[in-house]
């Protein structure tokens, strides 16, 4: 009896101390004062982020590191990776920069990134708070140390044209709609006389065919450890055949009719009212809100009837620091501020992509940042509850394989079996041998 009362007492004390620690701390990710100010360079690719980051950096300098000087550079996406590679080879990377999942392992394995694990540990930040899907791509495969911290998470959802739905008499989709509902809607919304296609949802890995494959429960295109091509698995074949079927029936435009193989090409047709349903990521929200003139809304990907999953691909870009930085401690401190509650609040207020920091208040701030849009942005947050972490990576054979796959199936009329077999063969040189 004594032991029992003692253990209950201990339990209560434990719970109380945990709760009070939360109450004292408050912040999910704290910021910290820097040891000594200095000069840093910071590079991003997104011009909207560049402005937001400047604000964040100014706050950091003011509150946490007076006397520090940060130069913020923006290099457009098209040149960003080439420039980064060139800088890496001369040992001259910017002190802090954006990185994406596709390049994470390459830079980590070549010792280009600063190991952030010690800094996170001494600041009391547990990297698992970001969620495995967001942070694991930035861990070293051997040591599991974290080399980059998620700055945002992004996933995809269906954008649809409410006016076209009204005109065709199709009820708006709900969060639990299925692939069959989707196919029905696409059929009813297609209007060849006016050049309107029901849907365009296949173009990209994330924001296209990859999400449909993921919703069958299959890792899209390749396994997470980059050893095996998954395109010939039943789930992949099912998803690709489903999409090809819609294309063959004329409910979706071919690549030639889209004018290209990116979700932006689908967006162009959506914007001009030629496509009623399309798939894209949260990154497109600012442009869509600004440019689209008709009534539109967002809904999650339809559920696969067999697996019951609506599972879009999740990707998280991250902040990394250079291993060769002149001021590694200062760079790590800035990275910490960038992902802290305070830094991420500024990011969330600016709209655009959702902040990586999992603090629910920040997620709500992000949704509110879009203002009164009448659009269900919450669908993205709901979609993020069940996601597939991105498995793609940068490699010339891999890139060729995925590009060919889309063209073969959605432009040249090659059968799904042949196209997937070809793609698996093409990407073989880039697949890491399973050890």
């Amino acid at each position: 009896m004594k032991i029992r009362r003692l253990s209950i007492l201990l339990l209560v004390v434990f719970i109380f101390s945990v709760l009070s620690a939360q109450a004292q701390d408050g912040a999910t990710i704290p910021a910290a004062q820097c040891d000594a100010p200095g000069d840093l360079t910071l590079r991003v690719w997104d011009e909207n982020w560049a402005k937001t980051v400047q604000t964040i950096v100014d706050k950091w300098v003011a509150d946490y590191c007076p006397g520090a000087n940060v130069t913020v550079n923006q290099v457009p996406w098209g040149q960003y990776w080439d420039l980064l590679k060139t800088d890496a080879s001369s040992g001259d990377l910017p002190d802090v920069f954006n990185i994406i999942q596709a390049y994470g392992q390459e830079y980590i394995n070549n010792d280009a990134l600063l190991n952030l694990q010690p800094y996170l540990e001494s600041a009391g930040i547990d990297p698992s708070l970001w969620g495995a899907g967001s942070v694991d791509p930035y861990r070293s495969a051997e040591t599991q140390d974290v080399y980059a911290t998620p700055l945002e998470w992004v996933t995809v959802a269906i954008f649809y044209n409410k006016d076209l739905f009204d005109a065709a008499g199709v009820p708006y989709p709900t969060a639990d709609w299925t692939w069959d509902d989707f196919a029905d809607a696409a059929a009813k919304l297609t209007d060849p006389a006016n050049g309107v296609f029901g849907a365009a949802v296949y173009a990209q890995y994330q924001g296209g065919y990859g999400d449909w494959i993921a919703s069958t429960g299959t890792p899209p295109v390749v396994t997470a450890d980059h050893t095996t091509c998954t395109l010939q698995e039943p789930g992949s074949i099912e998803a690709l055949s489903f999409l090809k079927d819609l294309l063959d029936k004329g409910y979706m435009p071919t690549v030639s009719q889209l004018g290209g193989t990116s979700a932006d090409d689908e967006y162009n047709l959506f914007k001009s009212g030629k496509v009623a349903i399309y798939l894209n990521g949260a990154w497109k929200l600012p442009d869509t809100i600004r440019d689209v003139t008709f009534n539109w809304d967002i809904v999650q990907l339809p559920r696969n009837p067999t697996s019951g999953l609506s599972r879009p691909i999740l990707h998280a870009s991250a902040w990394a620091a250079s291993a060769n930085s002149d001021n590694p401690d200062l760079a790590a401190n800035l990275v910490q501020f960038l992902v802290s509650d305070e830094g991420q609040k500024i990011f969330a207020d600016a709209g655009g992509v959702a902040p990586g920091n999992p603090n629910p208040e920040l997620q709500q701030t992000w949704i509110d940042s879009f203002g009164d849009t009448n659009v269900n942005i919450q669908a993205f947050v709901d979609a993020s509850k069940d996601t597939q972490s991105a498995t793609n990576f940068n490699g010339d054979a891999f890139n060729q394989a995925t590009a060919d796959l889309v063209i073969n199936i959605f432009d040249l009329g090659v059968s799904v079996e042949d196209a997937t077999a070809q793609a698996c063969e093409t990407m073989q040189p880039d697949l890491v041998p399973a050890s």
Binding site: D82, E106, N110, D111, T254, G259, Q400, D411
Partner: protein
């Protein structure tokens, strides 16, 4: 006074630039005046080329320092099906663009060598593509060849040919590349041919007319041989140029499948880019570059040897 033999029998390093102070001063002046050009060539061409050849024997991912690996890159090259495919595509492009380009530019040059109204205007017009950037031209031509919205397919629709996928079909994709290449070069070769045509002595034609030669015979026995040095120059330049085709492939296949579906539009240059800048294998890419250099050198030497057979140089004593 030093005699001729005395001067020639002794040599010391200070005579490197010349035997007399005056000749040395002149030599220095000469070197100084060509220095901007030679230094530029050295630093922006010579040294990088040498470094790139050295890198061909290393493994280098662009981030960590290069590792020497001897002839391994070349062994991989010989066994690499994508390399052979790229070589095949490049050779196909050479075989398409060189004859057509040469014949087309010759025809246009002959046409514009006659006394026609507005021939200066047309000469300028044909030369304009030469001064256009290949990138800009490729962007426009990519839209002309676009399967659904392109101008070409819209014209061909009238003939019942619907939506040919010029840029995505593996069997068709080399055609747009060849068209852009020829379109861009014809003007330049036309100018060269015009110069050549105008250097053919009129006396030859007059003599031929007196002998009763027909138009075709005059062309075949006077124009063609007299133009052969120019033709030779154009063929050599054209072959080298077609070996190096990159911009057109990069731009025209960018929106769909980069390098063509299944590598059907990948030329040697483009494969080098893919391996180096996308795949991050700079050592291997340099090996491709070195292989390209060796091939082009071999082809050019072969052409130089062959010229003795068919190129006729008018000698000074007629």
């Amino acid at each position: 006074m030093a005699t001729q033999t005395d001067l020639q029998s002794t040599w010391s390093p200070k005579y490197l630039l010349g035997r007399t102070p005056l000749s040395r001063r002149r030599a220095l002046w000469g070197l100084a005046l060509v220095a901007p050009n030679t230094l530029g060539l050295l630093f922006f061409f010579g040294i990088p080329v040498v470094l790139s050849f050295v890198t061909a024997f290393h493994e280098w991912n662009g981030i960590k320092p290069p590792i020497f690996n001897g002839l391994e890159n070349f062994q991989t090259l010989l066994n690499d099906p994508k390399f052979w495919q790229a070589l095949g595509n490049t050779l196909k492009l050479v075989l398409i663009t060189v004859p057509i380009g040469t014949l087309l530019s010759l025809s246009i040059a002959i046409l514009l060598n006659q006394r026609l109204h507005g021939r200066s205007f047309f000469r300028t017009l044909y030369f304009l593509p030469v001064v256009t950037s290949t990138v800009a031209a490729s962007i426009v031509w990519a839209w002309i060849f676009q399967a659904h919205y392109g101008l070409l397919n819209n014209l061909l629709a009238g003939f019942g040919l619907l939506d040919l996928n010029w840029l995505t079909r593996p069997d068709l994709v080399l055609i747009p590349i060849a068209v852009v290449t020829i379109w861009q070069r014809v003007g330049f070769y036309m100018i060269l041919f015009l110069a050549g045509l105008q250097n053919v002595p009129r006396s030859l034609y007059e003599a031929a007319l007196i002998d009763g030669a027909t138009r075709w015979q005059r062309f075949r026995y006077i124009t063609v041989p007299m133009l052969s040095p120019t033709t030779f120059l154009i063929v050599v330049l054209s072959v080298i140029g077609s070996f190096q085709i990159f911009d057109q492939v990069f731009i025209m296949t960018a929106r769909t499948a980069a390098g063509g579906v299944g590598g059907s539009a990948t030329t040697l240059s483009y494969y080098l880019y893919q391996k180096g800048f996308v795949g991050g294998e700079f050592g291997y890419a340099s090996a491709i570059g070195l292989a390209m250099f060796a091939m082009m050198l071999a082809v050019t030497i072969f052409q130089l040897r062959l010229q003795r057979r068919w190129v006729y140089y008018e000698s000074t004593d007629g």
